[in-house]
Symmetry: D2
Subunit: 346 residues, 4 copies
């Protein structure tokens, strides 16, 4: 079947909703309608990509029997409910991360999806980045041998507004959650224990009860040691690197740059700053992510490459990290309920 | 006016015709029809991008009064005639390089375009590459001071078939022509003299009267020294680099890679090969090139950034280089007719 | 005063003793005698560098009133006693790290040195490496602003014999001790807490009660977060890198290589392996270290740039890390006695 | 035999004489005397390295029967005569480049050396640089297959005084001569033809009849194409790079840097400038060059790795380049006398 035969509805016309809509449009998928509580936003997005319908009521999309799949790009607190509704109406689901900030809520959503027999994919776009895919390939192909260590560097150019931070669930569930998924994806093992060090360099972020610089240590079930270095601020821009050490050597990646130009003057040998933020850095990854989702929707035998269980495990790690920081102690993941289903696949 | 209001016809459904058609489609331009002597090729391309019409007769496009512009993606020996026809029918023209292999033919085509008052842009796509644009910006902004030298490295991964080489006009008019344009573009000056060294490493290419390895020396009117290093073969893939030396320092670029990953083993510190050929390397440049053409078509006051005169100057340099190789002597550009119009703009 | 006027004795003619002797010889220092329990080793080293005397009894050096300074290059378990003897005989002391594996022993040795009024320098040679000096300069000069994080990567090409590991004091007192000193040196602050994750990839090392892969988390008194990544094995060779993040940006270094050559083939873009081990990597640092020691010996007002207290602090961190691994908990440095003198200088 | 058993005299106590003296001293060679017309310079150099004798008369060295070899570090116009004198007194000769600026003079000197049966090595130090040696090894080992092209980039940070330029023999015999030797060394073939483009960016240099920016094209006897890019000025410092293309790929080197540190700020990703000039860049090469000379002096069967014939061929290329620039035409090396002996070894 062709991409055109897939009929989707988009829930949420904000920044990420626009990105996904543009990509689906270029892929030739039939976008039936876009829903957003802001009628103007929904209308504008529909107009930009020649979508025939828009609505302020997501139910118009859920109830449209011609629609095969939905993209949930709404605020986090609506994700779980929309998953339940989509599952009830037998639509495949692409849901932005995180599914929810409560493990029980996530479990219920995942259970509903599985019982409905629809497919759900969680938006961990970084798995589709060319650098990280190449690193994963090096691991899978045995190019670095048996793994010993993984380091993930993940720094944003500048922090979001404090108003956002207050409702974000904290740095570990909001920002590090991507890195937790990346760690599981690259190593191919679950994590048994986390230990966290953190600091609030920004006084306002500290007053909001969060940190903006953190190191998260990971002990994997297969013996690998991991560490994530996060910062809400990096003067030189978006910093997304990984390094893995194994028995045969190491594999690592650098940031992506807008050009390869070097300027050599009497002062320094310099190049321009890396791509500034996630939209620039991960645009190709967003596209490949949706290619995979479209493929899973069109082919009954194809599982989405990122599952609801993946979303749950990343959230659990975020909660464990939050607890470790609070109590200044290593936290075992076994302190948390194992959830539904009891075991995930990696 | 929007991209959609621009109505174009595509002449030629081969490799480069497909690339341009895909880009125009994504830009939202209205592609009215595609013409190719091979009806199947024309039909397939039309079908792929939802184009309503296709034809084996270019006249169907020239005579369609609703069409504003044409893209000439046919074989080189048809370029000039199609330019004349398009000009006669008052259509703007995007023409792949080279316009022709004969200076008088080029002059006549350029004259016809100017007299018809339509716009013509020649497909020197590399001017739109992020690396080369950044280098040009360094020159224009004075980051390297007054220029002394420019080096252009331009190597293909592997040679075209000898059958193609025999009708290509020779390496300097076929391959180096891009580098001649790049040299003029980056330095912002005309070239007074060329001197060439060449070798045929491949015996078949030599038997066809051509070379596959060449160094082309350039003396610019403004005193800058230049040199282009060409090879039809590079085992590691497409190699496209530039380095400029000026009084304040140097600016250079590296190749583009599919990822930034380094693999460190007991043998070496290694990375994957660069992007393999021009389609991968220059896809963004092809897009930005057509954005500029569409913009020039839609805005009466906007000149296309690459003119017919640019096409002529690059061809003249190709002919001079061919003569230099034949006679093993430096060749002045003044040995060639100045053409129409007498002076170009850079 | 000239280097030649400084008269030194070397205690220990093993690997590091040879290195220091060669350097002192090139610096023009007068080496009066070399002592080693192995007469052949002492004799050979003396012969190689034209040293007039050798002995199997260190007392011959301590009692020689013409000798101003000694280099203690003997096995670790003899360091403290030789420090006491040298101090008693009013000789300046250069001592290889660690001073001892027991804090009380170190305290007594440092106290003896201070009471004798002689100078002592501990052999943390990495402080004199061009890369790390440049990073320290970036910190001191404010090029990266207020510090947030430091990462130290420190990996050996291959582990020492298990027989050595058994008497080494464990990875944290033997190998990481260099990194602890580097962390204090680069950040310019003491460390309050350590937390360790470790694994024994090599079963024999595990059976000896040690680990060969470790991540050590550091919380500095000034709020900076740190982490050291150690491995006894790296297939690609000696790996010694640092990265510091601050409010104005980041500063980092790469490994050192025997050449800057890149080989581009049909397989990869590759370079040769980095300098293989510490003698190659740090030869210049060893020289500059001794230049500083000689300078401190010759100039009454000059303090050695690495003090006995620096040696004590690094050891304490090694002991804290060992405890953290054993008990899987963060360990405060305040759990250890503050020692003599109560406060160090950084 | 040991280095100590070799007794040498140094002719010339200027910059390069000091460098060689320091190196010989560290190698343990016995330096018997140093001669310089300036008694103070000779005395100071002798004192610095503990040399017992100094003189203002080179004959004191030539006539000292205990001396095995001389280092000719005097001004160029004295080289040939000192070679004749040294040969007459049966001393091995290390001579700084160039031997002379006249081919007949060089021939006579080479002939005198051969007839005397002594060894002569010319100071093309760059052959001993780690980068260039590694590139040569890649060529010899077939890592890049059959060669097609070589590019040599050779730029000084700033020009010498115009007073020096006036007596230097011109850029091609003074500066490019090193690159000519490097080209022959790396490719392993003689050169048949040169063609030169040049410009005098500095008006004073132009008035002195010389150029300060040049591109030199080389056609090798084995079909390889070469080009040397020279500049007397490079704002970022000493620039010494090579790139070779062959049928299996390419091999290239970068400049050498004082450290590997990168500073990432809000402005750029930058590193410090490369090593600034030849003394910093080539110190190890100067050492290894003298190691080879000492080895050839001590071992009857060992030929010096750089011969007088190598000096002659580089000079001839310099003269050919000078002629090419003057007449704006390619110059065949066969236009020059073949010299003595008729054929060189590479």
């Amino acid at each position: 079947m062709s991409a055109k035969s897939l009929r989707v509805g988009v829930l949420g016309a904000g920044r990420i909703g626009k990105i996904h809509t543009q990509i689906l449009s270029r892929l030739g998928v039939t976008i039936v309608s876009v829903a957003d509580p802001g009628a103007d936003r929904a209308k504008a997005l529909a107009a930009e990509f020649g979508i025939l319908n828009f609505t302020t009521d997501p139910n118009d999309i859920f109830k449209d029997a011609s629609i095969h799949a939905v993209l949930i790009c709404s605020p986090t607190d609506q994700h779980a409910q929309q998953i339940h509704q989509a599952a009830q109406h037998k639509k495949h689901i692409f849901c932005e991360k995180p599914i929810a900030l409560d493990l029980a809520v996530v479990d219920a959503a995942v259970k509903a999806v599985e019982e409905a027999g629809v497919k759900m994919m969680v938006g961990f776009n970084r798995r589709f980045d060319a650098n990280f895919k190449r690193i994963r390939k090096a691991v899978v192909d045995g190019e670095v041998g048996e793994l010993s260590m993984i380091r993930i560097t993940s720094r944003d150019p500048s922090p979001p507004p404090v108003s956002y931070i207050k409702v974000s669930g904290g740095i570990f569930c909001d920002m590090t959650i991507h890195d937790f998924d990346m760690a599981r994806f690259l190593v191919g093992s679950e994590i048994d224990q986390v230990f966290v060090m953190g600091q609030a360099r920004d006084a306002e972020i500290g007053a909001a009860g969060d940190v903006d610089v953190a190191v998260v240590c990971l002990q994997f079930a297969n013996g690998v040691l991991g560490y994530i270095e996060n910062s809400r601020v990096a003067a030189y821009g978006y910093d997304q690197r990984v390094e893995i050490l194994g028995s045969k050597g190491a594999v690592s990646c650098e940031n992506n740059y807008p050009n390869t130009v070097t300027l050599s003057t009497g002062t320094s040998i310099a190049r321009d700053l890396p791509l500034h933020f996630f939209i620039d850095r991960y645009m190709d990854a967003y596209r490949d992510e949706l290619v995979a989702f479209v493929d899973a929707c069109l082919n009954p035998a194809t599982l989405p490459p990122v599952s609801g269980q993946d979303g749950r495990q990343a959230l659990k790690l975020g909660l464990a990290a939050t607890l470790s920081l609070k109590e200044n102690r290593p936290v075992k993941l076994s302190e948390f309920p194992s959830g539904y289903p009891a075991t995930g696949r990696l």
